[in-house]
Symmetry: C2
């Protein structure tokens, strides 16, 4: 490879490695070599080791594809969580799609206490939650008044604002066209699935 001014190529290598780590497969030393057209492995290795020395990359010695992003030590690591779909027999199951879909989130919660769901209906319009929005939910059996929660009412998953009134749970829509759900009153089986911690909308 042609000679470049100090740091120039290193920066590109950093970008390349970062990209690869984020996409799920850290590169091997020779991956980097090939990607940059080095004629010697050592050229790639030198840059990589320097990046580690500078603290811009971390590394597990001796293991293949051992480069990591250091900031993930302290910062919130990205996690993939499953998109859940239909409601079946009283519980949410993975969507029908054969390849189950995942979305990437960054939270301090553990990924197995999280799931995501596509919102149907306009009952939370005034809370800024529209049909088609994806909500990311943390599984928890209880909630605090004011929380936006996902609950199973009958065999339908629904997103509502959690309230308490006279010691009873109430699920409030945020749209005048809908009525509050007062679980024990209308006899529908009720269970709290979790609390909404993030909302996403794609508008391409």
């Amino acid at each position: 490879m042609a000679y470049t001014s100090p740091g120039k190529t290193r920066e590109k290598i950093y970008d390349f490695v970062r990209e690869r780590i984020l996409s799920g497969t850290p590169p091997t030393t020779r991956d980097v070599q090939r990607a940059f057209g080095f004629r010697a492995v050592q050229s790639a290795r030198q840059h990589l080791e320097k990046l580690v020395f500078e603290g811009k990359l971390a590394k597990v010695d001796g293991r293949s594809r051992g480069y990591r992003l250091p900031e993930f030590g302290k910062a919130v690591p990205p996690q993939l969580i499953a998109m859940l779909g239909r409601v079946q027999a009283g519980e949410l199951t993975e969507a029908m799609e054969d390849p189950p879909e995942y979305i990437m989130v960054q939270t301090r919660f553990d990924d197995d206490e999280l799931f995501a769901l596509t919102v149907e209906g306009e009952s939370m319009l005034h809370a800024g939650i529209l049909p088609g929005d994806v909500v990311i939910v943390r599984r928890q059996p209880t909630a605090s008044p004011g929380d936006i929660v996902v609950a199973l009412v009958g065999d339908e998953a629904t997103v509502k604002r959690y309230r308490e009134r006279d010691g009873r749970v109430e699920l409030h829509p945020e749209n005048e066209a809908f009525d509050p759900i007062i679980p024990r009153e209308d006899g529908a089986p009720f269970s709290l699935l979790g609390k909404v911690i993030e909302i996403r909308r794609s508008v391409e």
Copy 2:
């Protein structure tokens, strides 16, 4: 390792591998061997290959740590994009925070044509965009009527609905309390920064 009934161990291996892939480092055959206490590499390999055959895992032959989640072949790779902050001298610059903040997105667009921004104000309330929401924006100099765009009006970045009327550009809020902005009329310098492609809200 003790003998187990058919499929039993295989299922656990699948969970193990999936976990490892999701957490960023696919395991090696011998990682699996060790994790399950097999005394032969082939034991692990046999299970892994069968999982691939069943379609539950995908694999890049010959490469180290070559196991993948099958759905990931086509999925969009995640990217980190910069959170932009204040408006300075007519253009958006990176927020003051020393460690520049990044957020992870998955889109088909290139990461250097994307940026993210925190929404201030309630002018897009009825479009489900609240103060504090993060919008992910694709830089583009033009837009189509109906798009939600980010524009620089004066020296303030603003999120509005893009409209055209009599061949003139209009920026419409979605909240009666605000008035449309008709750029060339009130003489304020105007430039279109880009189009909003995603909205995110954290509600922890």
